[in-house]
Amino acid sequence: MILVYVVLALIPLTGQRFYIYLGSLFMIYAIFALSYNVLFGYARLVSFGHGLFFAWGAYATALTTLNLYRDPLVGVLVGIVTALIPSLVVGFLTVRHTRIYFAILTLAFGMVFYSALVKLRWLTGGTDGLVGIPKRGVILDISSPQAYYYFILAFFIVSTLLLYAISRSSIGLLIRALGGNEERLPFLGYSVFQLRLVAFTISGVGSALAGSLYAILMGVVTPDISYWTFSAEPLIMCLVGGFEHFMGPLVGAFVIVVLTTIAARFYEVWMLVLGLMVIGIVLAFRGGFTGFLETTWNLARHMVVARGGASKS
């Protein structure tokens, strides 16, 4: 993890705007995917509506910085704090349901939000979205690439450390237990509903943080980020990286961001490759990339141990 931070901190020293942009994008998607995984990987609930929270963060930041207080830091903080509202409300209404019903319900709420963003032109600018989100504000000026990069990096470090702490805490363990055997939890005196709501809120607020940073980075927000296909992006990242492992979504975000940016230059058919990857992973490597590494590692260790045992006898 520290290695990731160090490498990320060194990227701006190359001075290449392209790498700085790519690094920023990676950190944002990584926060999104890691937050999503709290619900998907730990609690095993598939949401097709997380674009809602991402878009909430992005639009809250955009509206705050454009209309209320012109500062990126304040904008992001408003994005995170206000995201508690939709996370708790949608969570409260959906986490009673599981599996397909949960997926369809989150999809429906995501579409409610999407169509509201498109239709409420006076507030959201409709399909054109909101433009001119400032990087230079009253308190902070992060208009240079290095500055906004380190701004995003700071949020990345804090949020990933928090998410890691959560995954190691007793609450994190309990949420994992939800995915494992939820019938047993009530016998131990825990409320499945409350735990799911906690998981939902953590992932909702985390996604909103990613959305807020996205708005600052891009300077523009459009309703696309609340459409369900965008909600599927962190899902694919978790799947590619492997959702069993904490670092999985991070790896997935890296693979997807790098491949999308680089492959999209060469192939028109990038999404086709992505689709084939998803199919391949479901059929052959259900642990994703990290799962694959773990299996290989275990296998290699067993072979070494077996050989060691043989040489001794």
Binding site: R44, V46, L93, T94, R96, H97, R99, I100, Y101, A103, I104, L105, L107, A108, F109, M111, V112, S115, A116, K119, L120, Y227, W228, T229, A232, L235, L239, E268, V269, M271, L272, L274, G275, L276, M277, V278, I279, V282, L283, R286
Partner: protein
């Protein structure tokens, strides 16, 4: 105030839309009913049907051929997908089934862009079905009537097939108890392939009916699958007659909402759907 004619014409539009949603949802719910797989790729297959209709129509000029071609091609596409991919995930967590069909959706969508390009395509209304009948001051196009009738015939056909034929009886046996039906000499796998063929062929029919009504382009499938999911889940997964009623109800509600609040029609529609799902996750016509 809304006058009667506007109301009537919106009602007709609603029935027309509802019938298309029904044809879209029918195959999806049939497939789920028997195999317990919610096929994410269903709308993508339907749009493929639209494209195939377009290609055959442009090259031969025959609607009948285009319709038949779309139905058969989509049926085969569904069956091949089942045999090659979906067959491998029947026993697994539903999560993987959903993800697999989602992967198929991405592939089918991109393949469409490769074959038919990124622009939109369009087929004019068949010669026979141009014009319309006047009901009061409202003119209802023949094409609208045609689609509504086809939708209703499809309902009758499916109902007859499932409840009154030997094949339907076997399908129901596989649906109720795959293990027991295997003991009795039915191979559930063959029936799963059959049902994917039928469901996808119905999607092909839907695609063929859709293309004279709207222009077809990339992204349409992503939009349609949401509606399809909402119809089948609202109706209660696997419920054929329920899906018909729900689809028509959604079509009509949408049209009437457009009349009342053109600003918020879709928002309210999705909100109503979400609320119903929260109260009755098993669907309006479903039983737990």
């Amino acid at each position: 105030m809304i006058d009667l004619d506007t109301f009537l014409s919106q009602l007709v539009v609603g029935l027309f839309r509802g019938s298309l949603y029904w044809i879209l949802a029918a195959g999806l719910t049939l497939i789920f009913g028997v195999t317990r797989i919610l096929n994410f790729a269903h709308a993508a297959i339907l749009v493929t049907g639209s494209y195939i209709t377009y290609t055959i129509y442009v090259s031969t000029g025959s609607y009948v051929l285009a319709f038949l071609g779309a139905i058969i091609a989509c049926g085969l596409l569904g069956a091949v997908t089942e045999v090659l991919l979906i067959r491998r995930v029947y026993g697994l967590d539903p999560l993987y089934q959903l993800l697999l069909t989602f992967g198929v959706t991405l592939v089918v969508n991109e393949a469409q862009k490769l074959v038919w390009g990124k622009g939109s395509v369009y087929v004019p209304t068949p010669e026979m079905l141009r014009g319309g009948v006047a009901v009061g001051a409202v003119t209802v196009s023949y094409y609208t009537v045609f689609v509504v009738i086809v939708g209703f015939l499809l309902l009758l056909a499916l109902h007859y097939f499932i409840n009154m034929t030997m094949m339907g009886l076997r399908l129901r046996a596989v649906w109720r108890d795959p293990v027991m039906s295997e003991v009795l000499g039915l191979n559930p796998k063959n029936y799963y392939t059959l049902v994917f063929f039928l469901g996808s062929a119905i999607a092909g029919l839907g695609g063929a009916l859709l293309i004279p009504a709207i222009t077809v382009g990339p992204g349409l499938g992503d939009h349609l699958i949401v509606l399809a999911f909402i119809v089948v889940v609202l109706a209660g997964l696997g419920n054929i007659v329920g899906s018909y009623i729900t689809a028509l109800a959604i079509g009509v509600t949408w049209s009437l909402l457009t009349l009342v609040t053109p600003e918020l029609d879709i928002v309210i529609l999705y909100l109503i759907s979400a609320l119903i799902l929260m109260v009755r996750p098993q669907g309006l016509f479903g039983e737990r």
